[in-house]
Symmetry: D2
Subunit: 260 residues, 4 copies
């Protein structure tokens, strides 16, 4: 029994620090690395890639709308030609930096508003899917467990990876509780770890109404943007491993000379 | 007898047009394509790459300092870690878009202030050379004929391509006449074409003082930023071909499945 | 009888040219000057402001979402705190440049997607209204004739200016025909000029279905982004003046020492 | 006896935090507020201005080269027309946000590489001086104590404010010890505070070679970019006030309705 742990890294920008990449690279098996559109400057991204390589963590392209000030969290009505080329550009840039770091980009995980939009918006979803296929059809796509995006991407021949969120509450239908609703975000590391252990072993979580909901997920997203978040991620990993669940990437190894 | 003609393309940005890429792609054998740091947005760059592929024109990465408003023409004191990663990022992004267009990036030509700086500044030159080697040691580097950069890059194992400028006057020592000096830029298409023919056949040009100066160049840079510039470039190609000089890339073909 | 003619100016960016500001400043009475978020760099904006001052054209702030690559035409879900501060920042920057040019910003006209959004979206409309009031309650707001925005802004104490579009077709209810529909944009300069004359004199235009629709407009927007557009704008002015309609700003003069 | 304490504030950017503006606004009498070119987004800048207003701290425009990724610390060869307009744009933007916050921009302090360059480069210095005069000749200019810039600005009619750096070592000629040299930066809060007290009372500091050097300074720059830096700044203020030195702005009050 195994599962992947992923986290958003490489999000510092010039003189501005964000997150504790070193700590998180000891915890996760997959690093969603910023590509410069919502966060990350080339030198900082390269440093994160080198550390990921050194620690054997698989890297993916955390692509976004072009919006540094909004950190990619603002919905944008981007035309298809632009969205496709923007996604290709970001993946290409990360592939280049990854080559310099001796590693390889194995997957794509859209970020923020783009992630939320393409989970349900078929036009933008198809743009992202097409972009991935045009640059490298061997890249996996990480998407929200239960979202229509998974089916659309599979139908286009992409390998998809469904992900759950460690610190988020779920609705009885398997969707995330909106952040605007009370109880949407979980704060107790022990509770979170136990939920994720149950998810990994049984494929279910307890929904916000107490019911049990089935979540098919190959990867769990954990955060590292505060000391508390890092500690929660560590708890998740410890509990999983203590229970015999192997934490490893869905994409094989971080070695440049070996496929997934 | 053959020579390469190169030009700066892909320099439009969003709603802003620059140059006539279609016309120039019928004239040149190599397209220096902007990578987004001084010009070019991903969708526009991709369009230029697709047209270059369709017309069999070889493409290179026209890398720059990060300076859209200054069009990369302002000298910047960029630290080595940043400069190296910036160059890798740009080359990677262009490689990604080139893959989507079915073509391959064959060379790197630094742009504007970066071009001028690394022709003589060894620290920044070494940063660019290292960047190219880290992402793809098979890429050629296009540099100013006669500049120290050629030797530095060769010593590091890079294939270098020396270039001359069609519309620029030369000093008796083979350097360019400074743009601040009268007569630095040539405007007569016929004169320019004849100078380039002589350069291609005899390896010499007439310097600004009337002396003859030897210029070892494998490529000639022509401009396309005005109708007059396009016409001048066309004249250069016509005269070269009429005299039996084959215009072709130093880097072989634009086919993705074939090396240089 | 008088009316204002306004146009979007100052939209060049660094090395990229857009529009013919000099020609348009001989035609319009009000210049909507870009503020750097969708177009315009400080030096170019300052040059446009100096020319507007020299020609006695009143200037307004053409504020936008932060989106150079998309030219401010992409809808963005900007939070209120950001939108308000973004609008204040842009107006302030233009006021500073206007002071250096010896003129004064008299009004605000939102651009592109922001213009379209706040015509109907009350939350974002209120953000823009609040921003204007916080920096300078004496500024007028130019808005789409017939839109709810006019009422919202008036209720908050702003002076509003309703505008019509010279080259756009109208629906029988006074709204614009969507650009996705055939016939949305008019191309015949004579027809456009005659429509605008009728609008100025009778307050009506012929809708796309042939009916007559009342449009209460104090200003007419004309474009200058192509030679044809400049010529159309010139025709509008000539016909208006030939028929005795005075073309002048709703905001008095361009003199720095005099209010509206 | 009195002196000003100034610090760089408003340097957060979107999701990225920098410095502890709240803590520093309890310590300093003048806040150099970022204007968006090296740091600061409009909403964050506005928040800092509101807090400065609430705490009675005078605000100045911390203008910079356009370089977010390099945090304005990279020398750039900006042409005069651009530099002048860039400085006016930034001051104008900050004036607009200050008006919305109920305060007034009283001075200009160039940042980073621009600060260092214009201390000695007369061309760029004159561009900054001209920019200030064109937008508001009543603004003071904060510059390095002992630098030629002070004389150039005074000759153009600007009020100048000479500043010393609390945590920097000085050469016997009154210039700063280069950061590349050992001992350039001082780390002991008590030592730093005592040096600044002597500066305020006697107008001298001990140079790195042990000699005593005269420094004519009206303002002392303290940093707030780490908890240690905040504590050092607090020590400086406490020791100054304990010794009867009044900490107050060179520019009067933060009230919008009152001049300097």
């Amino acid at each position: 029994m195994n599962i992947d742990l992923n986290s958003d890294l490489g999000e510092s920008l010039g003189a501005w620090r964000m997150g504790d990449d070193d700590a998180m690279l000891d915890i996760v098996s997959s690093a969603n690395v910023a590509c410069g559109f919502h966060a990350g400057d080339p030198a900082g991204i390269l440093q994160t890639l080198r550390r990921a390589k050194a620690k054997g963590v698989v890297v993916g392209a955390h692509v976004s709308y072009p919006d540094l000030v909004g950190f990619g969290r603002r919905a944008m009505d981007v035309a298809s030609a632009d969205l496709r080329a923007d996604v290709i550009y970001q993946i290409g840039a990360l592939k280049g930096l990854a080559a310099a770091a001796g590693t390889v980009v194995r997957y794509v995980k859209p970020h923020g508003a783009l992630y939320n939009t393409i989970a349900h918006d078929e036009r933008q979803a198809n743009d992202v899917i097409a972009a991935i296929r045009e640059i490298d059809a061997g890249l996996s796509l990480v998407a929200l467990a239960g979202s229509p995006l998974l089916g659309w991407a599979r139908a286009q021949g992409l390998r998809v990876v469904a992900e759950a969120f460690a610190d988020r509450a779920y609705m009885p239908d398997g969707s995330l509780v909106s952040r605007r609703q009370a109880g949407a975000v979980l704060h107790d590391p022990q509770e979170v770890a136990e939920r994720m252990l149950r998810l990994a072993k049984e494929g279910v979580v307890t929904a916000i109404d107490g019911s049990t909901v089935r979540i098919q997920a190959d990867s769990i997203c954990v955060h590292g943007d505060s000391p508390g978040a890092v500690e929660m991620a560590r708890q998740v990993r410890l509990l999983l491993e203590g229970a015999g669940v192997v934490v490893r990437s869905f994409a094989g190894t971080a070695d440049a000379d070996q496929g997934a």
